[in-house]
Symmetry: D2
Subunit: 443 residues, 4 copies
């Protein structure tokens, strides 16, 4: 992910320094577990922990360079790290990594990084949820037109619209928790996963200390269906971001103008035209959603590794693990900020709703006529006649509103009085269930 769409918090998780820190922790914990079981001297484990902790605390660019230097020679990243670690620890280093295989370190580390990334994403989601909840309550009774097929349908509340997105992000939060659980696993099982040279208790100990579960059956690697499920979840969340972003882009278009992304007071528009405040944040979120979704397919293709493992997944993960989580973290934070500051124009919402002469209320008029005993067929004919009269003269000098046309129609006025008609045109009718829905989702 290019720096433009990265936040340091998430980038740090995928840094070399964080990776080495986790690698050391895994090795040190494994040594402790082995020492506990008498597999290596307790004193060795203690020295490894003490000297290693010190080395990691003092970890600097010089250490990075040294590890890179060794890797250039050995062409093996874990060996390079262990060699560097041995330089720091001394003779006791011979007890490090005993009976383990590189994947034990690499895959368990990846799990730790992914859970760290998840935790940050969960915080981000909470910010999105908080922003949406606040705006939903703020506009709980803000009447706006509901649109199907981008055509005016019936009134609804802007808060209810936002609440719908809240509900989706609440589902996304739950999905991410499930995905976190999926990849919060530890594998320390040695070559081809048989524990031939290492006690399963070591794995259990390390897993426990790292807050992970032990993998059920690791085949040297942690099975990649777990990671695939994780990236799928990110793809679903990204699509939810896109849905809300597309909504904002629609609301901000010149002809709608019901809401706008916040525009900094001193911000220079893209031209001399003051209306040229482009919904660049939501457009950007739309693009980021495409990117994050694009990681789903390679993650799925990574599942079918050959036999006990091949290394084809590695190039994919080196890219998509940071890219997807950094991109999603950035997108969620951008979304939260955008929704917090979204400028909403309730008057324009009303103006738009009424711009079609009131025909958007025809559904309720139809029901009112039916309740007054008119057959469905007749009621439909009456309503359509008046709606059509309104529509064909819309914005014309001799045009009348739907309400006016109905009032003048004897087939209507003879059956339902002005009060009943008013009630059919009362938008609050469409808000009557808002409380119930809000209680349902916000508690």
């Amino acid at each position: 992910m290019v720096p433009r769409y990265s936040r340091p918090q998430m980038t740090a998780i995928w840094s070399s320094a964080n990776r080495y820190r986790i690698w050391f922790e895994i090795e040190a914990l494994a040594c402790e577990a082995m020492a506990e079981r008498g597999a290596i001297p307790a004193e060795a484990a203690r020295i490894i922990r003490t000297k290693g902790d010190a080395a990691m605390a003092a970890f600097s660019d010089a250490d990075l360079a040294r590890i890179d230097e060794i890797e250039a020679e050995t062409r093996h990243d874990v060996i390079a790290f262990l060699t560097w670690l041995a330089e720091k620890i001394g003779p006791e280093s011979r007890f490090v990594h005993l009976g383990m295989t590189s994947s034990d370190v690499l895959d368990t580390c990846l799990s730790v990084q992914m859970t760290q990334a998840c935790d940050l994403l969960l915080e981000d989601l909470d910010k999105v949820l908080a922003a949406l909840k606040a705006r939903a309550y703020e506009h709980k009774n803000t009447v706006t037109i509901g649109r199907s097929h981008a055509i005016h349908a019936e009134p609804t509340s802007f808060g209810l619209k936002i609440a719908g997105h809240y509900a989706e992000f609440a589902r996304n939060r739950k999905r991410l928790l499930t995905a976190r659980e999926e990849i919060a696993v530890c594998a320390i099982s040695g070559a081809v996963g048989t524990y031939a040279h290492i006690d399963p208790e070591v794995e259990a100990y390390v897993a426990d200390k790292l807050g992970l579960a032990a993998e059920d059956v690791s085949t040297q690697v942690i099975p990649r269906d777990r990671h695939a499920a994780f990236f799928c979840t990110l793809g679903v969340i990204a699509s939810g971001i896109e849905r809300l972003a597309v909504e904002v882009r629609h609301l901000q278009r010149s002809e709608v103008r019901e809401a706008e992304e916040f525009f900094h007071p001193g911000q220079k528009g893209s031209s001399a035209m003051p209306h040229k405040r482009n919904p660049v944040l939501s457009e950007n979120l739309t693009g980021l959603a495409r990117l994050i979704r694009s990681h789903v397919t390679p993650a799925l293709e990574n599942v079918a590794l050959w036999h006990e493992r091949d290394i084809s997944h590695s190039a994919v993960e080196r890219n998509i693990c940071p890219d997807a989580t950094i991109g999603l973290d950035f997108a969620l934070m951008r979304l939260a900020g955008m929704m917090e500051k979204l400028v909403v124009y309730p008057e324009q919402m009303i103006a738009n709703m009424e711009s079609l002469g009131g025909v958007v209320h025809s559904g309720e008029v139809l029901l009112a006529l039916a309740r007054a005993g008119i057959t469905r067929e007749d009621a439909y004919r009456i309503v359509q006649r008046n709606a059509m009269a309104t529509w064909t003269k819309l914005n014309k000098p001799d045009g009348k509103s739907f309400r006016e046309n109905l009032a003048e129609d004897p087939e209507v006025s003879g059956r339902i009085d002005a009060d009943l008609l008013d009630r059919a045109f009362d938008a609050s009718l469409h808000l009557q269930a808002v409380d119930r829905v809000f209680t349902r989702i916000f508690g």
Copy 2:
């Protein structure tokens, strides 16, 4: 999905007849709920139920044709059905669908169909799990070589390999249950989801009777993130099928021959060559996995519908809902059958494992030397020297096995005796954790 890869059980779920049956059920239940609340006459609801049930019980191709005929005219599928239903029910039909919108019927029906499909897929997964468990136990102690990068690594058990796939499918079963819960929702909320013309209690009643939950916030449609999550899950399962299929394809290749898909006694080979038993089932499963995965992206693209809904998702779902579930149902059943009948060749497994002169045991020899007090560096040098001697003369007249070479190396024989050496070459060392792992996953 072409008929070749379809089973009637799943195809029936997506038939027009089943769809209409569910549509009627939704309408009838909604009428019952409305009657209960006094919104329509109780007698009307009773007549709708009685006559409708009779019509659905007698539903025939003639009815299908009649509905198609009406749809050709009205260009609206739900209206066509309701018109046909009115013909069957008579005047009380005016109480059907009151205050509802087509999406209420369409989306709730889709939920019912998807849960029906899920239930069948869960049965299929159970068959796969049963087959894998049986074969895992059967080959719990069948020694075979573990391979990383498709290169011999260390021994493992064939049962353990199968157990790894079992564990993946057990995870897949759990994922499918979650996905089922995601889409087991009902929405009867009217135009743009405001309940303006229908009581939310009607939705609650219908949901309860259908075994569904009421949607939190439906915007005329059930939000498509639910469906996207469902198709993602199917994609993950498909990838798990591919992993096992690729394993079988590898095992059956001419140079490996450790396992074979069952070949019918009278089955005619593709040529005169008796070895030409092709792993066509697992190859087919590989292809089906690609197909099922391909539905993930359009499902994700379906999430960002415009405003309260647009209809772009419809064309996608009309295809991928049946295609993905029919394809996966077929694939799982094919997989279950294939694994039940898989012909396994334990002797060939041993032969392959030993075909590299026994160097696959070098890891344990190294540890044995280390335990005997030799430094890691020296031990490595000794082991590599003997392994190399074995390797370079592999299959040559003057070649010796790794065991023989080691025995003749004074640096080895001086430190570890024949017994210890035997133990290092004992493959059962690699089976020692199998019981533990089996208990872990099979209980």
Copy 3:
């Protein structure tokens, strides 16, 4: 592809009957070539052709059933067909398929079907191009607002907008021709593609007669990169359909109303609301585009077949070959019809353009001031001041148009006269290059 989105012309290409017709043609041509070279008796080739042609001419459902019956037994589609053919031809059938392998027939047939499909798609594209060209010329000088970020930018011509889509479809036509060339190949090279049992001249002859090129190196199969390139091209075309469909959906939205899909006079709207004419065709096209694009990834995954071939591509192609071409054929024809009949509202275009008080002309005013010798910075300040004054009082009683505000600004009126100002507000300025562009693309 579900029947709802299928046209019989394309469906017929993928029918069993068409496939068997092509299979026979390939076998008959191969026999002719072999006879010419003395590999089989000329009389045999003649009989095979005559009796075979007769059998294919009389091909009926009974024949289909008979072939299915044989396939159920032999589990091999080509053998089943050859057995049926032998029943029709008699003893000379022993000269059919000599030295050939099933893939020779299957893959060459697929090439023929794909080129047939291409030819139909090319016709479809021509219809789309014709419709776009006609509408582009019709609206060559229809002024409308150009929008970036869905925000009004500067005027353009509706014809120019359409011309842009024309140009894209013209590129798509060219791409499809290239894709057609890619898959118009014939392979008759026997097992693993070595021509060990068949003369390459047979392939050359059959290819020539079928209007195909001989495959450079077939490895039993025609390499799947060709098919992948074909599906990629379909995906690009589908995305072009989506771009135009999304444009129409935007233009038809209630607040824009600049164009509408044709609505049949007697067509029943979805409700009593006369404005509720939904852009269902373009929404449907959006969904179909997602479907057609979804075939790209499995087609790419099909490329890496194992060694000389595996059969994993088969299940994929049995589905996506018909699905993608049937879907695209339907979509292109729907698009052509939709664009032919699109109802355009030029007055509404003007109204929308002017709805922001004329600030959309600020760019040219800026240049006019600059040409009058005002520095860029000053000009910008002046323009923005007046645009802002217009914007903040938009639609308010005391609001003035941008033109009025400028006229009253002494810094403007002192520098440029009313004529110059008029010219800056003349939308035809933005049409001046239309002729040139039209000549460029329409010739």
Copy 4:
């Protein structure tokens, strides 16, 4: 793309420095064209060119920092660059960018970068082609077993296998040339692409100087179908890389050992096992192929921009343009090197081919019997009987080769003599068309 999979040549193309160099070139050329047409003073154009060239020649990190500083303020990258440029050029800078829009610079620059990337990729492909051609000729007559379904089929030549991959990469080269042509376009048409404020001749001039074609109809942006086609092509090429990589991975597996990736003499194996030379390059290439393919879908989703343009494509392209081209460049160079140095084991190929007792020659034996006048049915029965006898006792003490079994079968020996039988077992039979195929593809 992570640095691990990046080469400096390609990375440089996507550097900020290169981007700014191209931006300046576009602006300077546009000024020259405007000066030529009298739209700006010739002297101004000269000064812009001279001072600008000097500034770009001296471009340093300080300049980068300065531009970043301005962008942080203006939030607009092109304005930031133009401001910096103005600082370098002085008053004449007011003639820069006249009548142009940011997209004119951005999109034309992207075209230049993409063609530069293409040129590098074409060089890479030439290296791959050269390596494949050399190895194909080297092993033109190296007999190896052809495999369908990973099961031994009939002999072929290893050179022919390589030639098949050569032919695919030759097609890929041609496709890349087409893709290059697709995106080698220039657009300088101003806001919403109407040339309202800039002469189309300026575009023509700049295009010509940059070696690009002028875009047919640009809608402020260059239409994204061009870019989509480009990424599709990269996806097809990546899949071709995967096909060859998978072939190598198969050939190197422990049971096959027909070829191996070159292993550096001093390279440390992953363990003490000398056979543990893992095909890490080809596994890595498999993973890179997945990554490069994953860019196809977002590129397709980028096509349907709203109206004259939205900015959603930008975030996608900022990532996938460098990622895909850097990844593919790296992959192609890795592939070329891998194939140049691939260690091939012809003896092992023969050994594998014969490991099934010679039954792989049964096809030709069948034909020999048929030629000797035996009916197809009888011939099949005879061949199968002997093949089965060979197969069931394969590698057993009393087992005989297929050749021996046939020789002892009176039904065979009575019809075809030893010479004819020898000929049927002569693998060179399968090489007879190699020359022809080589001529066909190598000329």
